[in-house]
């Protein structure tokens, strides 16, 4: 039989792959060449030395690092990353809590309540997130001006320039108080482990929750008074047109936080609902037959099994929320895309470097979230004995 080389599957495979690699290399070569030419022609510098140049602009919201306009672009980057992480972290937590509540409400036997949850889910899921962010921002800046700002116990002020509140001032010795708080958490972790082990082997129960709560609350409190109250609060005071002192949460952050968590919660509630529904009816009936109360059926039987179904889509919701936090640029929230990928890029003109760093950072954040959620996912999966 005539055996043509092209009829050999192995040969064809190698040929195709070589062609793909070849075309890719050729394309890359072409792009690099034209880019180099274009950059030279437009007098755009290359390399990463611009990171050490002073930025020359201000960032309105930088709760962790103190930022001045003389600081470098590198610092702009770090402020941006921290702001992105801050709003993503707060958003993920709030979205999870709200999502679980709404998901359970949707399965409530109360028809009216489940309908309301349904309407909330449909409205938030079916309108663009960007629109919701802008809408929240528009609502927040319609709040009263600083002079007429409504107050709560002369401590919190709600105005169109943000939420003003007391700021903790850490004096000498406050480290020890914080240390004791950390210690409290560590101790309660070990107590919980010991209590679980004991219950597993002997069946004796231990009031873990109350013990740990009192350790976490009272240990730092006692240390706090022994050290002579080293942490005080600084209250905001109205002076002229603005508040002096205190801490402020800007409306950009509040708008981002509200929009991201409310939007993502709608998606999370759907995964929670389908997770709970995925637990077969027999499980519920069997645990009822054992005499468990409704609350314990939910906590011990339904939720642990539902979590196996819920966690993988929950991970992708967290990833979505983190990526969606890049929309802060629409309301001027100084996140990574707005500060570094936007203003720094425009000032230096080094589009390739700025975009590459920004994209790489998002990839890194995404991978990190996936990594930790995968570990958690593995820990709750069904272990066959």
């Amino acid at each position: 039989m005539q055996n043509n080389l092209f009829q050999d599957q192995k040969f064809r495979g190698i040929l195709y792959q070589t062609l793909v690699v070849g075309f890719f290399a050729l394309g890359l070569y072409f792009v690099i060449n034209t880019t180099a030419y274009n950059l030279e022609k437009r007098n755009i510098a290359t390399g990463f030395s611009f990171l050490n140049n002073p930025a020359g602009f201000d960032i309105s919201f930088s709760p962790f690092l103190d930022f001045k306009s003389t600081d470098t672009h590198l610092k702009v980057y770090f402020v941006g990353v921290l702001n992105t992480l801050l709003v993503s972290f707060c958003g993920c937590i709030a979205a999870t809590i709200l999502g679980f509540i709404v998901g359970i409400i949707r399965l409530s036997s109360n028809w009216l309540l489940s309908r309301i949850a349904y309407i909330y889910v449909e409205f938030t899921r079916n309108t663009p997130l960007l629109l919701q962010i802008i809408l929240w921002y528009a609502i927040l800046i319609q709040l009263p001006r600083i002079k007429q700002a409504p107050q709560i116990w002369e401590t919190f002020y709600i105005s169109n320039r943000g939420l003003f509140g007391p700021k903790p001032i850490f004096l000498d010795g406050s480290n020890i108080v914080i240390l004791s708080l950390v210690l409290g958490f560590i101790i309660s972790f070990f107590i919980a482990r010991w209590a679980k082990k004991r219950q597993d082997t002997t069946g004796q129960q231990f009031p873990t929750f109350t013990t740990n709560l009192s350790i976490i609350v009272f240990l730092p409190l006692v240390v706090f008074f022994i050290m002579g109250s080293p942490i005080t609060l600084e209250y905001p005071v109205l002076k002229g047109f603005n508040f002096k002192g205190g801490a402020v949460i800007r409306p950009e952050f509040i708008a981002m936080f509200l929009a991201l968590s409310i939007y993502t919660a709608a998606f999370i509630s759907e995964t929670v609902r389908s997770g709970i529904l995925s637990v077969t009816k027999g499980q519920r009936e069997a645990s009822g037959a054992l005499g468990l109360k409704k609350y314990w059926i939910m906590r011990l039987i339904i939720i642990p099994q539902a979590l196996r179904v819920i966690v993988p889509p929950l991970t992708s919701q967290y990833l979505n929320l983190t990526k969606n936090s890049s929309l802060g640029i629409a309301v001027g929230y100084a996140d990574l895309v707005h500060g570094f990928g936007g203003i720094s890029l425009n000032q230096t003109g080094q589009a390739i470097e700025c975009m590459a760093i920004t994209m790489a950072t998002y990839l890194l954040i995404s991978l990190t979230i996936s990594f930790f959620m995968n570990i958690y996912n593995r820990s709750i999966q069904f272990k066959e004995k």
């Binding site: 079916n126 960007l130 890049s326 629409a330 589009a351």
Partner: protein
């Protein structure tokens, strides 16, 4: 027997049928539920009349409370008479309706846009309704539709050329949404097949591409299209702004589409592949005739869901300066004659998006139900 008298006769069970029975079962089953029901009713009683009043009964449409025709913000009842109890001022939408629909498309050519909208519906019919007469021929039109739409909207072939910077409003939203989905779909299929390919290099390239795109936010890809793409292309090749955005949106959508279709491919039992190969079909024949029709069929609901996501994400183009539906709204608010009416504009834009996305999600639910009963995968 006398023993019977010792037992109390049980009450008959509470009725669970009829309106009263239904209420008892679903609203007042115990005191917690009753309390919740009453609270919710109170909450709705506060909210619904207020919203209806704001949006309809006390709202301005064409004229204000004095009966004057509204031409700018100062005529709006709630601006002209801030102490009075006035609702929304929808005149901003009515006056600027043309812009919301077509942007700055020349009005003497606007029939072309309307015709395209109509043809879009015709092109969608064979996809939505399976039992439509002449479906085979209509499908051919559906495939040709993007080209027809492009010629109609942009011009050439005897039509006056309308540059894309004149396009706006719903037109841009729909162009990005429809073209994005239409191009991303075949691209997504190729990527999904590539990722599952036996050839390691091709599989690696596709995996890297998909994971990279899925790992970064769409906005960075849009920036990529706007600021980096011009640097990569040789001089003189100036891509249109809308095209650059469309490239970014399509690549983004293709990566997500690929993952959805890969899910469908994974659900196809091995036997289908083996059977196709044993009848002597080539790789492409096997995929085209056996595997893909089944894989796409089961992944249609997810495909619709990612398409909804893309449709909502098209709003992101306002960040790089394109005027889609939301962009036109923001433009109207930035105009001094209509400032301060943000609630009306955003509610209107939200409503338009809601109508599109909600009907899409209903359609995907309908498909899901139909598919559940309709097919029996890998039947034995």
């Amino acid at each position: 027997m006398e023993n019977n008298s010792n037992f109390e006769t049980r009450k008959p069970p509470v009725a669970t049928t009829g309106i009263l029975g239904w209420c008892r079962l679903h609203l007042f089953s115990n005191w917690v539920n009753s309390l919740i029901t009453l609270l919710v009713i109170y909450f709705l009683y506060q909210l619904i009349p207020w919203f209806l009043d704001w949006s309809v009964f006390s709202a301005d449409f064409w004229t204000n409370y004095k009966g004057e025709l509204i031409v700018d913000r100062t005529f709006c009842s709630r601006v002209a008479d801030p102490k009075g109890d006035h609702g929304a001022c929808w005149a901003i939408i009515i006056v600027r309706f043309y812009q919301f629909m077509y942007g700055f498309y020349p009005s003497e050519q606007v029939w072309r846009v309307n015709l395209t909208y109509f043809l879009l519906v015709v092109a969608l019919l064979p996809l939505l309704i399976e039992k439509i007469p002449g479906r085979k021929h209509l499908i051919k039109f559906t495939i040709a539709f993007p080209i027809v739409a492009f010629i109609l909207l942009y011009g050439g072939f005897g039509f006056q050329v309308i540059p894309t910077n004149k396009w706006g409003g719903l037109l841009v939203t729909l162009v990005l949404g429809v073209f994005g989905i239409a191009i991303a779909f075949p691209l997504g299929i190729l990527l999904a097949l590539g990722r599952r390919s036996q050839l390691p290099v091709i599989s690696m390239f596709c995996t890297l591409f998909i994971e990279f795109i899925r790992g970064v936010p769409l906005i960075t890809l849009l920036f990529f299209g706007m600021v980096m793409l011009p640097l990569f292309l040789p001089e003189g090749l100036n891509l249109d702004g809308l095209v650059r955005v469309l490239v970014a949106v399509t690549l983004f959508q293709a990566a997500y589409m690929a993952e959805v279709i890969r899910g469908g491919l994974q659900a196809i039992p091995r036997g289908q592949y083996e059977a196709a190969q044993s009848v002597g079909l080539s790789y492409w024949q096997m995929n085209r005739k056996i595997i893909l029709p089944q894989a796409i069929r089961i992944s249609i609901p997810s495909i619709v869901n990612t398409s909804i996501g893309l449709f909502k994400d098209t709003t992101l183009v306002i960040i790089i300066g394109l005027l889609d539906l939301l962009g036109i709204g923001r433009g109207a608010l930035a105009d001094a004659t209509w400032m301060g009416l943000s609630n009306e504009v955003y509610v209107f834009v939200a409503l338009v998006f809601f109508i599109f996305t909600f009907s899409m999600s209903r359609y995907s639910l309908y498909l899901e139900k139909k598919l559940k009963t309709g097919i029996n995968m890998g039947a034995d």
